[in-house]
């Protein structure tokens, strides 16, 4: 009998529970999708990818923790809203124990449904995720829908822990509650009017100040130790509490008396309802703000990481690049081996030269020092400027499909990273006597396309001087390179194959440099090059890349979960007032407000409530992402590969747009549900 009642209840309560249900199902889907990566065969082929499963599991545990608490909160919230119904059960003689069992069945039923519905969606999502990963790692995506028992088991385990905690908490709550308590909840649901308060302004100003101090502490770390972060977090928490506590009273103190303002444009009802809603949910709004802030921060940082990794790949314009040191080398053996195994479109071998001049190197080092990255690597090979012949340069541009340019065979040019362009330009302009082997520099002769210059042992390091062919006759060959462009893009597992094909070829791992002694003095200068030929190219330096991408994936995972959970709480909060909103609409209609206007008023109110927790979240997350992205960039690039900070703004923009799109779904759901009210 009870079981039947709980099924019927679950059906009837489906409106109250619908958003909660969708959120549970979404959580299952996301968990499944991301946890497929734990068991993914694809990832096992990459070195460095071993870390991703651990990261995902750690992120999932965090999700379980947060979700456990939130599911408990939401179910309890809904139960309180149903207190009248529960009190009727109890008054009609059903013992608490039975009612609590009823609630248990209800929750278990909803949970089971959510799991069953979330799983197939999760399988679909996992495919999307896999295609994204394939794209990241340059693998051609093949649709391979498959169901993983391992992942299902893991997801079920997480999900069970989340629900178990929440359900047990509620059972205990119902078992202990008395009819009197329930009736009190019903009364408590009534709105507490917001009255003005002179203190509110003070509290608001103080809390905003505290927020600024918090952001300052966390982003600049003035003390340089853990206390900064601790203090910063305390300040931010104080800010959120203070902000949401004081804002309704502040608004009322400053606007309630202004009849001139509030009696116009139907502001009265919105104003009063909005402030009342903030007052009655200030704690929840604070928590939501934190969730949204975390979500936005994670999304922003994830996007930045992705962009940094992308920048890495983008700078590596050649699919395959083989390096041989100290002499002009005949790469024919390699070329033949490659040609017989890969569809090669074109390739070119050439030399990088050096002499004993360092005008450009000096400028470059100064620019790096200015960015604050003083402790740069010193490489034995880069004590002087590096050069490339005009004919080689032209050939390489052709290979890359860049705009063809005409070079004056009696002038020198420069190809460099965008961030160096300005300083090199002024160097050339100021030093009219500047020349190489008697050839002076072209006035507008600086090019900045991606040219495999970002890291050591490419086409120079950050820059390369392009000289007339004759100029190199008296120069030393630093190393020679074979640059290869393939017909179809290589995928990230190909470097392994190439090394198997060609004996004596080792990967060019730029981080693993060998310390050397130069001129008998240990300058801390390093050299990587020994008696081997080195392979690099688009998929060189995979380990780092995999770590970046893994980080981005985990951050997105957390961000998504936090966002849907936060939005669901907010939506539930608003929809729980549906009855009240309906009654109010009825009154307004009797007072002669037309239906369209009433709907508009409601929508405006929802919009305000939806925007409010975003306000602090956007502020705080924006500064976090900005600072973190800058720090990451300077940690990853010895030198600014992006020529300005626009990319951070772009990363922020992308993540905000993504966030708002997902948020919008909940917003629309709330509007739809409230329209269906009558």
């Amino acid at each position: 009998m009870l079981r039947k009642l709980s099924i019927r209840n679950a059906k009837r309560q489906s409106r109250e529970y619908s958003l909660y249900f969708i959120t549970l199902a979404c959580t299952v889907s996301f968990m499944y999708a991301f946890n497929t990566l734990v068991f993914s065969d694809m990832l096992k082929t990459f070195s460095g990818a071993e870390i991703l499963p651990y990261m995902i599991v750690a992120a999932s545990l965090l999700v379980v923790l947060v979700m456990g608490w939130i599911v408990g909160y939401m179910t309890n919230f809904i139960l309180k809203k149903r207190s009248r119904e529960l009190s009727i059960y109890m008054l009609s003689g059903i013992p608490n124990r039975s009612v609590s069992r009823l609630v248990f069945y209800e929750n278990a039923l909803i949970g089971a449904f959510a799991f069953v519905l979330g799983l197939p969606v999760g399988i679909l999502l996992s495919q999307i995720l896999e295609s994204v990963l394939d794209h990241m790692f340059g693998i051609k995506y093949t649709f391979r829908l498959h169901f993983s028992w391992n992942t299902t088991g893991l997801t079920l385990l997480y999900f069970f822990v989340i629900l178990f905690h929440a359900i047990r908490k509620n059972r205990r709550w119902v078992r202990k509650i008395s009819v009197h308590d329930l009736l009190m909840f019903d009364r408590q649901n009534e709105k507490i009017p917001v009255t003005g308060n002179a203190f509110a302004a003070v509290v608001l100003v103080l809390s905003v100040l505290s927020g600024c101090v918090g952001i300052f502490l966390i982003t600049t770390l003035p003390l340089g130790n853990g206390y900064d972060i601790l203090m910063g977090i305390i300040c931010l928490v104080l800010f959120l509490i203070g902000f949401f506590q004081s804002i309704p009273a502040f608004l009322v103190t400053h606007f309630a008396g202004r009849n001139e303002w509030k009696y116009r444009h139907n502001r009265l009802v919105i104003f009063r309802e909005f402030t009342a809603k903030i007052r009655s949910t200030s704690a929840v709004l604070g928590v939501l703000s934190v969730l949204f802030m975390l979500s936005l921060t994670f999304m922003g940082i994830g996007t930045s990481v992705y962009m940094i990794a992308d920048q890495h790949v983008e700078q590596r314009v050649f699919d395959i690049m083989i390096l041989h040191q100290s002499e002009l080398y005949d790469f024919a053996a390699y070329e033949n081996a490659l040609r017989s195994n890969f569809p090669i479109r074109s390739c070119h071998s050439y030399g990088i030269y050096t002499d004993e001049k360092d005008d450009f190197l000096t400028v470059r080092n100064r620019v790096i020092a200015d960015t604050g990255n003083g402790d740069i690597f010193l490489y034995k090979e880069y004590k002087y400027d590096t050069y490339m012949r005009q004919s080689d340069y032209k050939k390489l541009r052709e290979l890359l499909g860049y705009r063809s340019i005409s070079l004056d065979p009696s002038l020198c040019y420069v190809h460099c990273m965008p961030a160096l362009e300005k300083d090199f330009q002024s160097l050339i302009r100021e030093r009219a006597d500047l020349n190489r082997a008697g050839y002076s520099f072209a006035a507008d002769g600086i090019f900045c396309e991606p040219f495999n210059q970002m890291e050591t042992y490419g086409n120079g390091w950050d820059y390369c001087v392009i000289v007339p062919d004759k100029a190199v006759s008296r120069m030393k060959v630093l190393y020679s390179l074979l640059a290869v462009i393939t017909e179809a893009p290589l995928d990230s597992s190909d470097p392994k194959r190439i090394m198997q094909l060609c004996d004596g070829l080792v990967p060019l791992a730029r981080n693993a440099a060998v310390s050397t002694v130069v001129d008998n003095i240990d300058l801390g200068a390093t050299s990587l090059l020994k008696d081997a030929d080195y392979l690099s190219g688009r998929w060189g330096d995979q380990d780092n890349l995999v770590i970046y991408y893994s980080m981005a994936i985990c951050l997105f995972y957390l961000a998504l979960i936090f966002e849907i959970v936060g939005s669901a709480i907010l939506a539930t909060q608003i929809l729980s007032d549906r009855e009240k909103t309906r009654r109010q609409a009825h009154i307004l209609s009797q007072l002669g407000m037309n239906e369209k206007l009433i709907t508009q008023l409601n929508n405006r109110r929802f919009t305000l409530i939806f925007l409010l927790p975003l306000l602090p979240a956007f502020m705080i997350s924006g500064s976090f992402v900005y600072i973190t992205a800058l720090k990451m960039r300077s940690a990853v690039f010895h030198f600014n590969a992006m020529d300005n900070h626009l990319w951070i703004v772009r990363a922020l923009g992308i993540s905000y747009i993504f966030f708002v799109l997902l948020y919008g779904i909940y917003y629309i759901a709330v509007q739809e549900a409230s329209i269906r009210r009558s």
């Binding site: 009534e190 709105k191 009017p193 917001v194 309630a256 009849n259 001139e260 509030k262 009696y263 116009r264 139907n266 009265l268 009802v269 009063r272 309802e273 402030t275 009342a276 109010q584 009825h586 009154i587 307004l588 209609s589 009797q590 007072l591 002669g592 407000m593 037309n594 239906e595 206007l597």
Partner: protein
Amino acid sequence: MTSIQRTSSNATTENSKFTSLNTPTSHPIPVLRVEHIEKYYGSRGTVTKALDDISFQVRPGEYVSIMGASGSGKTTLLNCISTIDTVSAGHIFLDGKDITSIDDNDIAAFRRDNLGFVFQDFNLLATLTLEENIALPLTISGISPKEIDDRVYKIAEKLQISNALQKFPSQVSGGQKQRCAFARAVICDPKLVMADEPTGALDSHSSRILLEIMSNLNKDLGATILMVTHDAFCASYADRILFLKDGKIFNEIRKGEKTRSIFYHEILDVLSLLGGDRPC
């Protein structure tokens, strides 16, 4: 008992309508004219006839009460007149305008300009102060804040709630709430004020104050009031009482020059004739 006369609505033909229900007075044009309205509820098989061919008129400045047993159609009648509900047949004219044919877009504006409502459970907005609740209809009409203030204070004075204006509904008594609701109903100077059991949720003291105030507003400002009530005492404040039974007008009595207590006993007599439901 002498004044009891059965009013068969069937007898009210087009021609006799003006003379049969209204004593000829200096106000020949009625503010409200209800003509043969019918209202059915339900669909397929079970149809309830809530209103059955009802016709009557209300003159400007008149205070009319509607009585009847539970389920006799009082609320339905009021809802039809107030444009909250639609009639199944018949016409209702307010100030010469047929409100059954107003299209949905104009209905809100019409309600705002012509009608005022008071309900048993006050229907105040809990998050607004009493002052704001009274001001609400004026803000909807887009009246200037200055004028709103003036009018709110004036009406609050009349209804004796000036000192509670800054309070919220949850902070004042039921009587104050109902007076506030009444102030809100009359602040737009509606042609007709409708009240559905306004004293239903009040104790006798508060009821009496409200009734006195309504009566004063009716006399001083000439407000036209249509009030549904169960209570004979409340009804005795009215000039005229319509009795409903099973969706029909069963009877109609007038106060005329009688004192209220005589009128009260007359009402009780009619109620006993009606039988059944007789509270208080």
